[in-house]
Structures are given as C-alpha cells and as structure tokens.
Amino acid sequence: MSQEFRLDKGGFINRDKKISFKFNGKQYFGYEGDTLASALIANGVHLVGRSFKYHRPRGFFGAGVDEPYAIVQLFRNNETDPNIKATEQELFEGLRAESVNCWPNVNFDIGAINNFFRMFIPAGFYYKTFMWPKSFWYKLYEPIIRKAAGFGKASIKHDQERYEHKYEYCDLLITGSGPSGLASAYAAAKNGAKVILAEDKPRFGGSLLTTDVNIGNQTGVEWTKKIISELKSMSNVIVKNRSQVFGYYDHNMLVMNERLSDHLPKTEKYTPKQRLWYIRAKEVIISSGSIERPLVFGNNDTPGVMLSSAAKEYIKVYGVIVGKKPLIFTNNDSGYETAIEFKKNGIDPLVLDTRNDPKSDIINEAKSLNIKIKISHVVVTAKGYKKVKSADIAKISDDKKHLSEIENVACDCICVSGFWTPSIHLASQSGNKSTFSEEIDAFIPDKSKQRETTVGSAKGIFTLEETLENAFESGFNLSKKITNNDNKISVPSVVEKKFTNHDKFWCVPLPKGKNYKRFLDFQNDVAVSDIELALREGYRSIEHVKRYTTLGMATDQGKTSNLNGLQLVSDVENKVVPQVGHTTFRPPYTPISIGAIVGREVGKHSKPTRKSPMHEWHKKNNAVFVDAGIWLRPRYYKKGNENLFEASKREAKNVRQNVGVCDVTTLGKIDIKGPDAAEFLNRVYTNAWLKLPIGKARYGVMLREDGIVMDDGTTTRISENHYHMTTTTAQAANVLSHLEYYLQLVWPELNVNVVSTTEQWAGAAIAGPNSRKLLQKLFTNKDVSNESLPFMGYTEGDFFGINAKIYRISFSGELAYEVNVESDYGNFMWEKIMEVGKEFNIQPYGTEALSTLRIEMGHVAGSELDGRTIPYDNSLEGLVSKKKDFIGKRSLDKAAFIRPDREKIVGVVPLDKKTSIPEGSYLVKDPKAKLPNPKLGHVSASCWSVEYDNPFSLAIIKDGKNMIGKKLYALSPLKNKSIHVEIVSSHYVDPEGKRVRS
C-alpha cells in the first residue's frame, strides 16, 4: 500500500528502512523512526478508537504525551499492553496494535448508540442512574459498565519481562531536553555539576526539532546535536532519552521511567524492559515545556481536528501531512508556523484567525507566501462523522459574542491553536502553589517550595532568546551553589521570528438553534454542557466539578483540557480563573506500567526467603513447606500417598510414642548482655527474673504498655551477665525493636546490650519419651539425667566434636530438648540426630504436627496471643508478678480486663468425637437463634488429638472457667457447619505437666 500522506522528503525518519506492522488486523508499513501514529496517518488511517462515554469516533489530537485519544492495545513478543498512546509508541518490525473501547470493531461500534442517547448521559449520569435498586449494582450495572468502559485490557498472564529499579543521586536533574533543558544542562555541566538530563521522547531537542530558528549560527537541530554529543562525552553527565520524569515527591526525590525496550520487537538479553529511577537531586530544573491549548467549537472531537503544533510535528519530524486540505484555526501566531509548513510542502491551507488585526513578522511571511487568511473568523462546527469533511465557519463580532452568516468550507483536517499552556505538573507536585499569568492566560509556577526551578516555556517564556538567557543563567547559578565553580558559558546569539500577542478568545458560541457538542476534555468526553450542568446543580469547587464531570481525570490528567475547563467555570461563575484555582496535579504525569513500579519485587523476589541450614535435607526427605513469616518451614514430611492430615497425625503420634525431631531454627533469638540484664528482663517480662540461676531457662510473657500480650518465649541465663532470649518466629523483629526502644529511650541508665542472633544458631527440638535416651547417645560424655539436666535446665556439650547448647524446654509437652549448634553445623547435627535416633524410631515432624502437639497440651501460640488478649485470658495469671512493676502492668487493672466474665482459654471437643471444628468458628448457645446470634467466644486453633484420637480445639470464650462442662454449638457460617460441642479444660493432655519433668 502506498503512503498517500507521506511527503517525498523531510523528517528524521530513516526512509531506507521499511517497517511493517498491523493495526486492527490490517497490514501497513512505515519507516524506522516513525511512531505508530505517524505511520498510521501516513497511511491515511485517522480512525483509531472510540471515545470513553459516547463511543464517538476518535482520531489523533496530538503528537506525543498530550494525546488524549489514540490509546491502543499493543501486542509485542506474545505480551499485551493496554493504555499505549499511539503517538508515543515507536514503530518496530511486527508491531501489532488494536483499537480499544469499541465492540465489535472501530468502524461499527454498538456503543456509539450512546452518542444518540447522550441527552440521557449527562454529567454525573452514573451517580444518578445506577443507584437503585441497590441489588442491581453488582449483578447488572457494574458488569455492563465495566465492559463498556475503560481503555483496553490488562494481560492476565504472568509478565515475563524484566523491570528494574535504580537509585541515583545528582546535583541537578533536568526534566526535558528542549532549548531550556539543553541550555541549563550545558551551563551546569560545564560548571562541574553532576547532571542528569531526561527526555521523554526518543529524540532530543523538544521544540527545536520543529521550529526554524538559529542558535550561534547553527540550526536548532544542529545546535541540539552538538550540545547532546558534548554532554554525553562528559563524565559528570547522564543523558537519557525515552525517559519520563513522572513524579516529584518529598525532599527532592523524583521518579523517572526509562523505557529501554518498548521500541524494540523484543527485549534484549540482560536488558530490562523498563527501568525506574529514584533520583535524589540537590536541585531540579523543570524544563518540561508547554502544550498547545485546543479551541472549543462544535464537534471539535471529530477525527481530523488536531493541535496545530502536532500537525507541524508530523511534517517536520516524520515527513507526514495530516491532510491535503487543511484548515488552520488559531488565536495566535503559532498556527501560522503550521500553515507555512503546509505551504512549503505544496499544500494550500486556509487560516482562520480569531483576532481582528494581527500584525507580526510571521503573518507577513504567510501573506508573502500567498496563504489565504481570514481574520476575525472562527470554526463554528466540524462536519463529518469518522473524519472531517468540511467546516462551518463564520465571521465573529469584535466582542466575540455574535456570529455572522455561516459558510461551509471543504477541508480534511482542522489544526487548532489556542495558545500555549505551560506544563506545570512537576512543579505543582513539588508543592509549588503556582500563580495565574494574565499575560498568557495560564498558570505558571510561583515561589519554589522544594529545591526546584522552572525554566523556558514551562515558566511561560515563549521567546527563544529569553529562554536561553534564563536557562543558561539558572544552570550556572544553581551549579555554582553546589560546586562553587565559576565557569560561566556565554549565551549564543539567537535568530527567531517575532510573535505578536494572542487573543484571549477560546470558545466559539453556538449559532442560534444549534446544539453542537463542544468538547473540553477529549479523553473523558466532557463537553461544555456537562460543566454548565454541574454548575447549575450547585457544584462550585473546581475539585468537585472535576469529580462530578470527570474533567481532567484519568491518564490524561487534563493536559489539554484543564485550562479551557477553568475558563468555562470562571465564565459561568463570573469569576476570574485564579479565583477558581486549578485542581491538584498528581503523579504519575503519564501512565506508568505496574511492572515498572513493582520492579524486581515479583514472586519469590517480593520478600527475602529465609531457609534453615537443614532446608536441603527437608527437601530431599519430601518435606512440604509452608511460609512462616519470611521463613520456609517443613509443614509435614510426605510418605507415600499421605495427605497433610494423615502425615501430621503420624508425625505427632510418633512424638507421643517414640521420639521426633523438629527444625526450630526459625525461632527469634536475641542475645542480652550486661550487668543490668536481669533487671531489664524483670521489667520486660511479667514474671520475676532477678533470681534466675545460671544454667536455667524460664518461660516469660511480655506485654505492650496497653496490657495486651506481645510475645512469649523462654530466656536462659548462660552466664552471670549473659542471657539468651527466644521469641516467636513472627515477632522476632518487633521484639528486638521493642527492647531497643526501652534501652535507648526509656531506661538508658541500664547497662545492657541486645543483638539478634537468630541466624547464628541452627536448632533441633528432640521431643518424646525416647528423647533422653537419644540425647545420651548424642552426648556420650555428658550426664543428661533428670537430676543433672532437669526441666528448664541448660548446659553445653560436645556434639561429635562441635560445641552444642542444650536447653531442656518443651513446646510439645513431652520430655524434650532443644539442641543448638552454630548454623554452619546445622545439617551435620540434623543428620547425626536422624542417624543415631534410628534405633529409637525417630521421625522428623513439621509445623502441622507441632501445632497438634501444642494444641492438645493447651500451650498458647499466635492464634491465642492474637493482639487482643491479656495474660489472664490465656490462663497465664501465674506468670504475672504481683510484686514488681513491668511494661504494661498498670493497664491490667483496667475495668474491661478485670471483668469477671472476661474471655478465657478453654478446650472444645465435638460431642460426636468425629467432626473437626473449623478454626474461627463462633461458640453460641442456640444455633438457630435469630441473627445476630450472641457470640460467646471463638475457636482459635483446631487439631486432631493424637492422644485421644478425636478432634480437639482451643477457644477463647466469655467466662471460660465456668463454662467447662457446658454444651454449646460451634458455628462456622463460612463452612456451613453447626457442631454440638462440649467445653473442657484447655489442658487436654497431661494437665499436671508430668511428662516434661519426667
């Protein structure tokens, strides 16, 4: 297919390299250096999508980040991306893209019926219509709206691409490589500052790529090339293209998205698709330029209506003309530049200028080129549905209120220019309040809030000479502050065309008897009439108008719509724009993929995975793992076809009958040293610690200041001033911070040091009636009798040549020991235990069996110490000292805590001795009572008691002690279960604790 709208020459594309691509299933070609938009326009394709609400045909409006319409679904290397702007997507071989927001296809879209019913879809339509009946929302309204709305579909596949994050520090970050960005970067770099220059487009130069100017006897393009190549050669400068600085956060941290691979058919090996840069800059120069403002007239959203600057960019950068019969509609001199470009390429434009007597160099130039100009003329409405075919134009009175006779002129595109809006998004995000400039009818940055300086047209400076002067000055001054160097570069001489004033006119009045839709926000289908309606309905604050009408929302963030919306509100409200104020600009400035934000923190990389030194052994022995905090722990060891229930029962039973071994490496361990260690523990734990002898362990409970149990564990006195504390796996980090808080801030007078030793020790719990016999064989030279190593005793021993620490503590309720060796010997220890233990029928057991053992013993764990219970609730009153003070003690007197019917821990057994009670079940008196059924308590943990071979659960229940022996019901609405149960003691097995002391 020939490219009807491609010029024979011109642009920065590589005409030697053809690239084929598919749009909506049809094959086209473009050239290297094209965007999808420029290639489609070259091929005469102007219909690319449907609008958000009315499904009106959508073409191209801009040529870059400002594009509100041309959003496509992109297919690349077997992946798909929604929300891609065709104006930003560079062409690559094999690119495939499809229209979004249309069904069944873009040419025939059923949703377009909304367009004819649009009188029924006014502002706030969704809020007004879908409110009733309420039950219809989830089933009917929402699914339909969801299907009809939105731009494209997210991929449901796991994204195989790699995204990276990078942290960088610099003296100056410069956002945008137009004339002001280049000048300030060059001045700062030459003065020794560490500079990052970021450009969101593939090509550097910004407006210099499309304007005929001369800098230091070179064209703008030549000058750009020279500056960029020099900057790139400097070691103190990072120059990045395809990199969008999209967010300005606190303390001068900015985030930039570098798209390294989106322009390639597939991502190269060892290169990420995108890289997110977190940049902490000492100073920021915002040189983000400005975006042309639309003019508002009837059906101004018809494909073929576009920004005049975009039309110029398509000619100058891509050698593409957007139409062969262009109409230029302008209120300032910029439109003439576009007209001249058309004329130079052999196409006759017609210029409509809203001004009644404009005079400037560029208008004279246009006149000398015989360009037809109609002054005091406006476009009343565009005609044509899928593409502009003609325009109704009219002369407008000097007060801009009255239209003369309407005349129809044929045209195939309408290039509009309503003057320029500085891109103040980044400045605004930094906290800069911005101020309204009457001169340019737009907001510009005000006093700096953070360390940011705006230069060039982003600040409302529209002449090149002033821009360069100002930017060189800023770059030099800011760098001097940081580097103290004084190397000033002289500003080059500039030749540019002089412009005259623009016309403040922005919205064409409706002719009598016509009700043309005049759009303000092209992405969200917000028309003049919507804003007027919102105001009539009483919305006053611009923030409310925004939310009610969706003006300036979504991915577009009001890039082209914002100011015209404000103009309208101020006109209707008879206020001036600065009084109305503008809505908040929020990051990101332009859509950023979720992949880039997440970076490498995906799957197993989202948090570190900790493994015990015995992990490989567990794996080899068919362990099924479970996440315990960030640790991986064996849940059970699968034998044959066993399931979780069967395996854990076998493992637990073997502990009760023979001996089992469990990997307890994951327990938090904290070393506590210092002369005041005992006093410190005495304040941290609820029980007494001053008289713990050396070589003894003690169980302790620590509270928060509000009396709630924070954690429990054993602490052992290793020597006079040295204690070894254990915490639960989950709370290890919090407990350490808690201890540090009290030592550093509350009681700095205590001479104590704490340090985490969790990773230093590998731990194995040996539990069961045979455990002493096994221990004796492991420590042949050591007396491990009940007399020398009693319950809660501690000793050290020689474990086949290595030093081991032996703690006689028990979580399972059986005679048990925990052996710790240095981590590197962990696997050696484990294998020895398994080898020696063979004759005692040793089996490893996982966390599921461990739970079973502790539940039927009535030992509390995380499911009881759930951040809501105090020691009394868990029958731990024996551990609460009456004599001494400790953290949280004062709170235990609270009325709610000493209420007689306060919740208490109990055991629960189903009457049928068969039905397992789901964890989380409610305990009630009457299962059929009217809802809400009064809840007496809840089941915190359940197991299959291996001792009695029936289900057993722990529960926290009101007035627990007095409930023992009572029959209640356990309700689990989630599992649809109602189980008749009996309340029993929480100490189901060995209530006297004989076994641990045996």
Binding site: Y167, D250, H251, M253, Q744, L745, P748, R890
Partner: protein, 86 residues
C-alpha cells in the same frame, strides 16, 4: 520519600527507617502510683499537630538507633534530628 539525617549515619532514605510516634511522650516511672487518667494519657492519647512535631524514628536498616526527628507534619520539612539522649 523523605530524606532523613540520621545523627549517627548521615542522610539516608526513609525506607531505612521505621516510624515510632510522638517523641515527647514520657513513660511514667516504674513503681510510681499514678491515676488512671495519667496512665491513659500515656498509653492512648496523642496529639496530632499540624506543623512542627517531634517524633521518634528507628534506623532499623542501619545503625538500629532510635532517633528524634523534628518534622513538619504538613509539609514534611525536617528541621532537625537528634540522638535519643539529646
């Protein structure tokens, strides 16, 4: 992301720190008889000032020291940072 000057380590990014609440709260002395309302004030009641606020942060991924930070809750401006004992 805030940029916090740890008095022990220098300028570090916020993601190395954990927030620790109001630094002006003083824990009542141990073993001291105090009223319910005094205790409640200490455990639960915190001011939520708009503007300058002296607060605690812990440099958890650094020196693990608790530090005091004088920060504007509205603008996030950090005026000064102190060691725990300062």
């Amino acid at each position: 992301m805030l940029y916090i000057k740890c008095p022990h380590c220098g300028m570090r990014s916020q993601n190395e720190f954990a927030y620790g609440g109001d630094a002006t709260v003083k824990r009542p002395e141990l073993n001291k008889e105090i009223s319910d309302s005094e205790w409640n004030n200490f455990v639960y009641l915190r001011k939520s000032p708009r503007g300058k606020h002296l607060e605690l942060w812990q440099h958890i991924s650094g020196c693990r020291q608790w530090i005091k930070v004088e920060r504007d809750t509205l603008t996030h401006e950090i005026f000064k940072t102190f060691k725990a004992e300062e």
